[in-house]
Amino acid sequence: MEGVVFFIGAIGAVVGAVGVIAARNPFYSVLALVAHLFSLAVLFLLLTSAFVAAAQVVVYAGAVMVLYVFVVAYVGEAHEAKWDPVPGQRLFAGLLAFFLFVEISAAILSSGLKALSTHGPDVPAGFGDPAAIGNLLLEKFLVPFEASSLLLLIAAVGAIVLANRKPREPQPPAPPRPTESAREEALTR
């Protein structure tokens, strides 16, 4: 049963991720990312981390993606070139991706961590639930917790400053520079 749920979540996550990079319209990319995030939340639940799964759905799929949808609606569809400006870029990207995947997998699977091929140890019933995470956040990790709240505040202020700045007045076009041939003509004259 657990295997079935894992594969459903894994296939959903991979399909969502491929949809993000394959969709031409950025709006569909955002929707694919939402599907990907929901699948990941299922995987987090399988790993008995209920609070992270809930935060994933509420914060990520709920709040951050709404921000994306607003900006996509504001900016509109980008017109990406259908061809490669750099010849062979997709081929090289695919090759690099293949080798990166093989390399990461080999590095992890040959690391000799014995617990990797197990389910992990048996954990008590409250593992990863909001109470446990809250205790950890407010006792052991209080300073990172406060630092992240400060970081969020700075990011919000920074985004407002960046997006609210008035565009500068268009500068008058510079007088056209004399080209080489025009200069030569002036010299010969």
């Binding site: 950025p26 981390s49 992270v52 709040a63 400006p85 995470i133 997006a163």
Partner: protein, 99 residues
């Protein structure tokens, strides 16, 4: 399921995000691909936290979520600023850091 399945899945998702960053040209889609890579790292963190049987790795994942939210907010602010200056939203055209 063995923990290694989750780790290999996380490696696969990270790779897909990296391909997106290499191939796509719209800065918005590149931000989305960054999200994919951060989420893959999150999956690995939570899987390792389960492997050790210690919930502290999940705190790490939550902090990664906070950092990702900040990155999205600033990145989208930049995109809106670029759009309002009527500059092309294409990372090949935006290679000079001029205002």
């Amino acid at each position: 399921m063995n923990i290694s399945w989750y780790i290999v899945l996380s490696a696969l998702l990270f790779t897909i995000g990296a391909v997106g960053i290499l191939v796509r040209r719209s800065p918005m889609v590149i931000l989305l691909c960054l999200e994919l890579m951060l989420n893959a790292a999150n999956l690995a963190l939570v899987a390792f936290s389960r492997e050790v049987g210690n919930a502290q790795g999940q705190i790490f994942a939550l902090v990664v979520m906070v950092v990702a939210a900040c990155e999205v907010v600033v990145g989208l602010g930049l995109i809106v600023a670029i759009f309002r200056r009527k500059l092309p939203l294409d990372v090949d055209d935006l290679r000079e850091l001029r205002g």
